[in-house]
Symmetry: C2
Subunit: 298 residues, 2 copies
């Protein structure tokens, strides 16, 4: 198939609807605020944000299809025949901040970039990653088994890319237990790349939902809540100071409330804080954040 | 006087001690954690952080004196005779996050940079700025009167520089009601520049303390607390995504807990939130954040 925006756009919209439905049902009480914001030339933005749900404190599942008048320099330097052409981009981006500290925060993103020309320029990118507050080996294994099922032979490379990307250098600390991450992806041509992208999208709910359901009723108190809020500070640090998508979104003048919908509903910072050695909080640092091989990647 | 590090360093340490004492007394219950961390070649770091005080939720008053092996490119491009020389820097940086939402957050910073050479290279920088949650004209006037008293003929320029610097472009919004900001400052030579720096430092407490004392006993409830936490989200956005000092601190491998001690103790983000028109919360946006001439600047 020639690279086309429409089938990708349709897939992302269908996936957005499916994930919104699933999260509403996981959330218990609480509904997504929805608005459809059509832009010029058939572009579309579909923000979906849920706040203050029973089990989900905040979730954002965003779809965008945008057009740009001129290509970013990076693209035209490598492909001078594209200079002066417009581009299209479509993406789905989601984040879930659950209320119960035993349920991990998760993030997923899929995107497609296209310049229509005699020799079209395009790539896919995306992935999903998980950020637990308390580590559970069976959850991490399940998450990565699903990531492996989605990406097959590419898993080892995409898992390593995820560990690399979600890294807070200033703390020498990973954001979470990782997952998969790919960018500038054209491998096997449009059909195969689009198929990989769909497999990643289709595996998100099977990867996340069982973990959510397994942990959502775990009893917790002030200690666990405090730890969750403290660790969410790291999430804000990553998104505001490091994440390329957020940086690009803020600089390019995208709708700021959509770009920053990924921020945690509430976060804390404590000075020079370290959890007591041997506690479940400390084990997050020692046993879960350092990159590990969670599944044999054969 | 030839530019020297020691008198500046001594002034910053004395000022740090005075501000720590004053804030402890304003805070009611609550004490600063203090540690003195000597580094190589006479360098020194003196972190001072207060958490969970009665009236101050978090304050950080940091002193550093550091040495670097090689100059940043920006400096040697303009001054090629300095290439290969080491530099020294000393700074005091402070932030106060009060508990009562009627008491504004404040930030101040003074710094001196020096390359010892036959023709030394040096500059001063710094300033102070205020970030209220609820605006009061008499507070803003007092704050800027003190800023004017500190900087005299330079006030108009330094006030405008402050409005420019503390700006969240992605929200088209100032961080607060400003104050004064100067950088790369050599005006009148070392003696005059150092004198200006001291005047700014010496005016910080006279500028902030009366406002703190005037507002600290104002009754408040959940509404005001929620608003404060929401607005503190903007503070985290500025510090993590925009502030050059934080960016430099994180990239240069400075002690991360000192660099990020400026972050609010707790912050919230709400999706697409706007205060009701006509409320005191809305008046912050309409009447206080857009730059205003708070005092006649002669």
């Amino acid at each position: 198939m020639q690279p086309q925006i429409n089938p990708v756009r349709e897939y992302f919209i269908t996936l957005q609807d499916a994930i919104v439905d699933a999260l509403e049902s996981l959330s218990g009480a609480g509904q997504f605020q929805s608005s459809d914001l059509p832009g010029p030339d058939g572009t579309l933005s579909r923000p979906r944000v849920l706040e203050d749900g029973e089990h989900i404190e905040k979730a954002a599942v965003q779809f965008t299809h945008s057009r740009g008048a001129s290509l970013p320099d990076a693209a035209t330097q490598r492909n001078p025949h594209l200079a002066g052409l417009g581009f299209q981009a479509t993406a789905i981006s989601l984040i879930v901040h659950p209320r119960n500290p035993y349920v991990p925060t998760t993030h997923a993103n899929l995107r497609f970039f296209l310049v229509e020309a005699d020799e079209p320029f395009w790539y896919f990118g995306g992935g999903f990653d998980m950020t637990p507050y308390y580590g559970f080996e069976e959850d991490a294994r399940h998450w990565h088994e699903q990531a492996l099922a989605a990406t097959g032979d590419h898993y080892a490379k995409l898992k390593a890319a995820c560990d690399d990307y979600f890294y807070l250098a200033h703390r020498n600390e990973r954001r979470g237990i990782g997952g998969i991450f790919f960018d500038d992806w054209q491998e096997g041509g449009f059909d195969e790349s689009f198929a990989l992208t769909r497999r990643v999208g289709d595996h998100f709910l099977p990867a996340y939902r069982p973990i959510f359901e397994r942990r959502v009723s775990a009893p917790y108190g002030e200690r666990e809540r405090d730890w969750q809020l403290y660790r969410r500070g790291r999430y804000a640090e990553f998104n505001l100071a490091i994440d390329r998508g957020t940086k690009y979104g803020l600089q390019s003048g995208r709708r700021v409330e959509s770009v920053l919908a990924s921020l945690p509903p509430m976060a804390t910072w404590k000075y020079d804080y370290q959890p007591e050695p041997g506690t479940p909080e400390a084990r997050l640092y020692t046993d879960f954040l350092p990159p590990r091989d969670w599944v044999p990647s054969a």
